[in-house]
Symmetry: C2
Subunit: 322 residues, 2 copies
């Protein structure tokens, strides 16, 4: 059955010479540079949602993890765990969506695997994608590089993906449909690297756990403090409303098409402008700054002038959001 799926669905949709060889693995000639390697499993529920599906998400997510290392994403692997009974039409639609997302991101799916599990031993479909990319000479992106004085940017409105998924799950209706922001960010990253080069210190896509978790992790890695201005953080009205209704803090809600950057102050404005010229960065904003103290902490200046420490989220706010 795996072989039939491979021949009838995966190969035709994802066609490329490495995959077509049907070897145990793909043999690749990579451009020079350090190799970035990353993996993510996608278990999102529902598998189809406004703005994407588990297939496009599995491509975007892994492309973005590579981009956040400063790498040019090149090749993906795809491992499918399919629950018996998944309609073939759904699988075809998911694979077509992966193929399209891969084409847009300029990556090829070069190797794959399919396992089928009994009904009740999975949930329709889980997808793992691993990715490899190449980090050009001279690029040095790492969470440890955040340093006091650096400026924190976000590429657009936060919390959209999480609220879009939750709306579908809960059957919530809004005046305008909320669509996931799921997208490949490599080009947006490229635009920032073009103008800032080594002055671009940290990149991170704030997926599970949202902006607050991502910045907490960076503050801990670099042993610095990060200060956010609440009023500068772009949140769209529908998302804000949904968050209030549901009791969520948008800072903790997942994004799938937004990027945080921590940049030397000399180059922050150049990155902001480059992003605002980019279709995925039109709502980019400077949202905060890196400071020395309190080390390892994320601090929020609230709209009403208070300062509060924003902790890591404990417990999962939104399960199976990616």
């Amino acid at each position: 059955m795996s072989r039939k799926l491979t021949e009838s669905i995966f190969l035709p949709a994802l066609k490329n010479p490495a995959l077509d060889a049907l070897h145990d693995g793909a043999i690749l000639s990579l451009p020079p540079g350090r190799v970035a390697f990353t993996t993510d499993s996608y278990v999102i529920d529902p598998i189809f949602f406004p703005g994407g599906d588990i297939g496009s998400l599995a491509v975007h997510g892994t492309v973005n993890d590579l981009a956040m290392c400063g790498a040019r994403p090149l090749h993906l692997s795809a491992g499918f765990i399919i629950e018996e009974g998944l309609p073939l039409a759904d699988l075809r639609r998911i694979v077509a969506s992966m193929a399209q997302a891969a084409a847009v991101a300029g990556v090829t799916v070069v190797t794959g695997d399919t396992k089928v599990v009994d009904r009740g031993k999975g949930d329709q479909i889980f997808i793992n994608t691993a990715g490899i990319g190449v980090v050009p000479e001279g690029i040095e992106i790492s969470p440890t590089r955040a340093r006091p004085g650096d400026v924190v940017l976000v590429s657009g409105e936060i919390a959209v993906h999480g609220i879009a998924i939750l709306s579908v799950r809960q059957g919530l209706q809004f005046e305008t449909e909320l669509r996931s922001d799921s997208a490949s960010l490599h080009d947006l990253v490229g635009a920032a690297l073009d103008v800032a080069g080594t002055h671009l210190h940290v990149l991170r896509d704030p997926t599970r756990g949202g902006v607050a978790s991502a910045l907490n992790e960076i503050a801990a890695s670099a042993n610095v403090s990060i200060e956010l201005e609440e009023r500068s953080i772009p949140v769209n009205e529908a998302v804000q409303g949904a968050c209030e209704l549901l009791g969520f803090d948008p800072l903790y809600v997942a994004n799938e098409g937004k990027c945080l950057a921590i940049v030397a102050p000399s180059h922050a404005k150049a990155v902001l402008e480059a992003w605002r010229r980019h279709p995925l960065g039109r709502d980019a904003a400077i949202i905060g700054q890196v400071r020395e103290e309190p080390r390892g902490r994320l601090v929020l200046h609230t709209r009403i002038g208070a300062r509060r420490v924003v902790d890591m989220l404990s417990g999962e706010q939104l399960p199976r959001i990616c």
Copy 2:
């Protein structure tokens, strides 16, 4: 919860600088050569079995896929999909077993991901490993390189993994316990490459679908015929007995620590001798030959002197065997 698992279980067991960086991906400096890239998801049931567990299997399987490309295995990613309720002690044991298998194979787990799904939406634990390795200059292993006159070797007794797993599932008792042959084959492959170099044309580990499926695929890829001598194929007595009892053909039963090689006739004996000197190849044997006709077919000379075409297996003989 994922973060807690990462900090309390994954990082301590799998410790290495790339993983410790806790970045979105690992940044690696690879030795020169083409890069091999492969992935497999492991959904084996039961997750603990005689001779291994899902953790060691997930390392061996992906290390072997790299080795079958002629690559030196270097780095793995690990994606865990954990069903709520999996005992932490089981997870610890699985991760420890991955760590040990990785150490033996000389590979590091450099990047990972954990997802937790509700009870009843998974089955204890699924693991995806992707792997990267480097193919040394001058090595050219590919299923398309099988050519008429080449000799077919197997590194030892076949069908052991599949029958071991099935015995546990069915509660069968044998005089001697059947243990899976799950093992990393990169060193055995190295021994063959050392003596045969470019005269080693094809490598394949006959996992799901067994020796018959692997050789059928190779015959199709290279557009040649492969002829096997049934009497030369090493099958241990207990496995043979179990196959008869259960109505399985050992040619279709999964292996996890055996390797097929297709070698130029000038170097077949050298590979056989090198393998027999290796602890994982003591029962290695020459089991057949590549011919021109009938193209794309696997043909078996049976013990009683008959010739029969051995087709691809249709339908899954043993589900969730890896």
